[in-house]
Each structure stands twice: as structure tokens, then as C-alpha cells.
């Protein structure tokens, strides 16, 4: 028996929007500790990892570990039927091949339940080792989103360069070039608007903008984003989910002077 209740149900809706463009089908894993997902994007280049800890739910019951294969497009269709203020409960009986989403209006006058068939999905869980990064940038998520979108109108890739002074995002395309510099700034009135750089050494890496733009779909989940960079590792783009967990995206850098599509994201291409 599985029963996960979130009074602030809109969070489920935002999580779905943050994943569904990248991943078509995926297994959601439920255990006593939480509700999680790990999946490669459909072109096997980027990896997304989600964790919602059990203690963040208003009610959390998971009698035994469960892996539920879902089509994210269908799941998104159902979650779109929840009102912005609805309480959402996810339910599954042991051994059942369906999952039920229940939506309750705040005054309890309207109660909806949507039942979806589960799927069998092959997947291997990749171990992602903790790592030291050469540079970690924390910045407003809407700023990062805007930069990726703006650069996409000029070029296909972004070069991210971190120095003590700030982080530079650059691109180049047929119509010209663009450079956007965000200066380190820790003294702003609103901490969410700070740009904070923790740097061991300067680092410059290139990524496909297409994936970066998909990652920024998670912006409604958090006011800030953390970008962790090392020349030997995939970049980690992380959005914290308040008091519950996170959504993390991994993407391997493109090798300099390479114009090809990037290779699978969890291993660095030079390995």
C-alpha cells in the first residue's frame, strides 16, 4: 500500500513540467525514505534525478519498496486536471498495475480521482558518486533561464567560464556572437538574487543549449539554481525543492572544437 499526500499539490505539477520534456517514460521509485526518479533523456545524453523525501509529505505511507513505470506525458495530462490549490494524493495498492492521483479542492467540495495504467520499463540505476567540483555557481533560476533562452536565439552551444569575478556565458552563430557576464554579488538585499561563486580553479566548459533550456523548465520549483562544474565531470544543474529534496540534471561537456552532438551524459567524453 502506497499513499503520498501533498497539501501543496501544485509542487507535483511543477515537478512533472520539469521532467516531461526530457523524459518520455520512467520508473518512479518509492521507499520508506522517499519518492525518487532517475532517468536518461530520450536521446541518452542528459540524466535527471529527482528526490522528494518522505518527511516533506503531509502523509507518507510506503509499506514496501515499489518501482512504478509511468508515461510522463499521460501523467502530466492527469496532473494538469488538478487545480492550483488542490491537495494531491498519489495511491497504489500492492501488486496493482495502476496508480491513482486524487485531487481534493481546498474546501473538500470537489474530489477527483484519476487512475493511470502502470508500465514495465527497463532501467538501470546509475550510481552517481559524490564529487569535488572546480567551481560552483549559485544564481537566480530565472536569470539562468533567461540567459539560456537568449543565447539560443544566436547559437546552439554555450561556453560557461567561471572566474573569481563572475560567470560568463558565451555563444556564436551565423548572425554573430554573444557574451553575458554575471558578476559575483553576495551583498544584495534579497538573498535569492545573489550570484555566489565557490571556485577552486577557473573552469571553461561547453554545453548544448538545447539541454540547458530543458533543464530550466524546473525554474518554478526554486528561486535559485546551482551549477557545479569540473572539466572531468558532467555539469550538475540543481534546483532545490524546499524542505523536500531536489531535481538535478547532469550533462557532459562538449569537447573543444567538436561540432557533433554530445555523447551520453553521465560519463565525461574524454574517459
Amino acid at each position: 500500500m502506497l499513499e503520498l499526500r501533498l497539501v501543496q499539490g501544485s509542487l507535483f505539477k511543477k515537478v512533472m513540467e520539469a521532467i516531461k520534456d526530457l523524459v518520455t517514460d520512467a520508473n518512479f521509485d518509492c521507499s520508506a525514505t522517499g519518492f525518487s526518479l532517475q532517468a536518461m533523456d530520450s536521446s541518452h545524453v542528459a540524466l535527471v534525478a529527482l528526490l522528494l523525501r518522505s518527511e516533506g509529505f503531509d502523509h507518507y505511507r510506503c509499506d514496501r519498496n515499489l518501482s512504478m513505470g509511468m508515461n510522463l506525458g499521460n501523467m502530466s495530462k492527469m496532473l494538469k486536471c488538478a487545480g492550483a490549490d488542490d491537495i494531491i494524493t498519489l495511491k497504489a495498492d500492492d501488486g496493482s498495475d495502476t496508480v491513482t492521483f486524487m485531487f481534493e479542492s481546498p474546501n473538500q467540495d470537489k474530489i477527483a480521482d484519476f487512475e493511470m495504467k502502470l508500465m514495465d520499463i527497463d532501467s538501470e540505476h546509475l550510481g552517481i558518486p559524490e564529487a569535488e567540483y572546480q567551481a560552483i555557481v549559485r544564481m537566480p533560476s530565472n536569470e539562468f533561464s533567461r540567459i539560456c533562452k537568449d543565447l539560443s536565439s544566436i547559437g546552439d552551444t554555450v561556453v560557461i567560464s567561471v572566474t573569481k569575478e563572475g560567470v560568463k556565458f558565451s555563444t556564436r552563430g551565423d548572425i554573430g556572437t554573444a557574451n553575458i557576464v554575471c558578476r559575483q554579488n553576495m551583498s544584495v538585499d534579497k538573498p535569492d538574487e545573489a550570484v555566489i561563486i565557490e571556485m577552486q580553479e577557473p573552469v571553461t566548459l561547453t554545453f548544448a543549449l538545447r539541454y540547458m533550456n530543458s533543464f530550466t523548465k524546473a525554474s518554478p520549483l526554486s528561486n535559485t539554481v546551482t551549477i557545479s562544474l569540473s572539466s572531468d565531470l558532467p555539469v550538475v544543474v540543481e534546483y532545490k525543492i524546499a524542505e523536500m529534496g531536489y531535481i538535478r540534471y547532469y550533462l557532459a561537456p562538449k569537447i573543444e572544437d567538436e561540432d557533433e552532438e554530445p555523447k551520453p551524459g553521465v560519463k565525461n567524453e574524454r574517459d
Copy 2:
């Protein structure tokens, strides 16, 4: 000579939006008692009936009965040119083959007149007998609209079941099933948000969602909608137009286990 003046001209615009997706061409009937329309939708499945009583107009002159055939797409194009606060006057000379819409800005500084050719349209006026219904549900129009839209993302038909406790809307599709229950609730602070059920006996009927979604285009005309159900009769979905009249949609229920398109709407299919 016909002259109908509505200071709150946006009402004409809303009426047009409520009809034009369902009906292509129709006769508008003018008499001393009011301005009315009765028309089948283009697939001859649903019926729409409009009444705007003469006393609801700011000025109403209709020297003799007149039936004006109009293309609703063209009429809608013209009414879209009226500002939200404009006074709208509909004019026609006796024997003329045109109708004129006059739009006056509130301060009278801008005056527009749009003249449209009338059409000859064959139509028979169906007598719709008053009937007793097994169940009548009154609920917020935006709630009903949202439910029809949400269920359409899952399935093609809606099963409406009314009991003393509430009204249930259900559907089923390839990706799963959905049930939405609205509980009877008469004690809310705002009467427009109440869900009120008058029931002689429980009733369960199935309808095509496509038509229901067209009917909900009338939601801007009224905060509440009334759904009258009987197993032997077409459902009536009614939106009252404050102090003027109503717009009513009729649709025959689908017979159980039938996956075909519904048949004409005024007669029940078992007749």
C-alpha cells in the same frame, strides 16, 4: 423597422461566442416579445435556443415580426470590432436585406456602423415541450467548464451520475479513467459557488464531451449553469442571461455500450 439597443453591448459579444462554434448560419427571430434564435448545430446533434426578452434592452423597437438569416462567423467578426464598453445597437429596415450593427464608445466620440448582408436560411422551429426532469443540478459555470475540459484530456464521453450526495462526472480513455465528484453544498458564503441538486430519482446518463465543451463557451454569460437530466429526454444545459433571458443547449444522451456518434439531439434515441 427594427432597433435594439444594449448599453452593455459586451453581452452581444458573449452571446455570439457562445453560439458560433456550434452553429454556422441561423435565423434570428425578432418580435414584440424579444430577440431569439433556435438552431441545430452543423452536425444536427445538438440544439441551441437563445432568448433575449425585449424588456431587457435599453431600447427595443420591432414593428413587425422579422426573421434574419445571418452567418455567425461574419457576425462574430463584426461584433469583435466593438469595444468592451461600447453601446451596441442592432438595426434593420423593413424589407432590407442587410442588418446594421452600430457601436458607440461610452463618451460618444467614436461611432462605428457595420452593415452585413442577410441570408435566406431554411429552418423549422422545433417545439420544445416543458418537461419534468429526474434531476436538476445547479453549479458554478466555470467549475462545469473546467470539469468538461479536464475530462476531455482523458476520454471522449462523460457519464453524469446524480445522487442526493452530489454529481459525479466520469470518463475513460486509453490512458486511464477519471471521476470527479462535486458534493451538494448549499451553505457557501457566495451563492454563485453553491452546488444544488433537486432530485426525483438518481439518474446516470452518458454524453459526448465534444458538445459539452462547446456549451461551456457560454460560461462568460452567467456565473451558474443548470443541468437538467432525465433518462428519456435530452439534457438541457442552461445559462441564464441576467434580466434578459437564457441560452439553452439540448443534447441527447448516448445509449449505453454504444460507441457511435450521438443522433439528433431533440429526440431521445430510444424513442
Copy 3:
């Protein structure tokens, strides 16, 4: 060395939106007096003339006259990357084949520079003589925009008739006819909402609505528009740019009873 700085950078963005639908490529001319453009639309029917005087800029340096050929679609792509509150600086080195747009956020924490290649564009600068007009209409720019848009849903051309009482915009199409009259009105509380007519003699002229609709893209630049009409001259549709200059559009009238496309805009067709 060219360096043009506008603290209110959104003005550059609005100027681009006002031109880019009409003109594909154009030379921007910089001199000590200002930044200007004159270009025919791509079908060589309408002419657009822009002037931003040097004293309207927050910083203006132009060491020698410069004509910079730009693709307006690409320029627009770059300017869309500027934030609404950004300071915009346009820079070019002498002899360089590129131009740089620099965007600074108000708090200086984010600085972007976009570099675009310049083009060689053949163009001849047309002398536009000052002229006396039979009638000059000043009216709210959003009102004029709304009228052109509304009439476009009925017909392809607009007949503009000016008398002492007001200005009438008329059209005719398959579905009917439309007339919109704006009365002269100088006594309104808000001067921007006035309709003011300076008339030597009544004038009635016909224009293609397609071009008029393109001209109204400049409405965000000014609350009022001035329409100067003479039977022997192209109409001038002018939007003042506060304390800086103007954008003017020229279009030849269509000759009565002619259903063809209009001919080049600077000369009247009867010449």
C-alpha cells in the same frame, strides 16, 4: 568610433519592432546630429524614416559619419535579449565590419554584449520635401491601431475622409461594409486622448490596410499618432519619439476604382 548610450534601452527595442515587419535590411546612418534610417519596405510601396537626435541619447559619440547596413531580423533577435530595464549601448569601431550592442542591467550585475556582422546594402536616400497638407489628424495611437485592425477583418483597403467634424475610416468586403467615425474632440481631460483636426479642405483618400497595420506597430513609441493627408501626396503617419525624434511612414493613396496593388509610395500614382 561610435558609441550611443540609451539608459531607457527599451526604446531601441520598440523602434526595432516598429520597423522589422516592413523592412528586411537597411542602412542606419550615424552623424553628429543623430541616428537615422530611411528605407523602402520590401515590396517598394511604403517608406519608413526614423530619426533619433543625438541630444536625446545619454551619451552620443560619433567621430565621423557612418552608414551601417543591418539585417533587421537579426538586430531584433539581439535586442530581444535586452531586459526591459536594461541600459543599451550601440558601439562600432571605425572601419569595423561589426556592430556591438551592450546591455547593462540597472544594478550593473549583468552585462551582455552582442556582436553582429554588418552588411553592404545599396540604397539611395530620397529627399522628402516639406509639404503643406490638406488635412492633419492627431489621434490616440492605440485608437488608430484598433481601427486599422478592426477594418482588416472586413476589407483590404481603408478610405479615410476628413471633414471639420471628424475623420471617417471606411472599408468594404465580401461580408459587408464598415464605417468608423472619430469626432473632433479637443476638450478631453487627458490630452493624449484628444482627436484634433487641422483642415484646409476636406479630403478623401484610399489606402491598403496591410501597410497601415504595419505602421501601427509603432504605437508603443507614442500615445498619439499624426496622419497628414493631401490628395497629391503620400500620406504621412508619424509617431513622435519623446525628446528624441520620430518615426514616419509614407504611403501613396490608391487611385479610385483601382483594385490593384499600390505603386511605390513616395510618388503619388497620378504623377
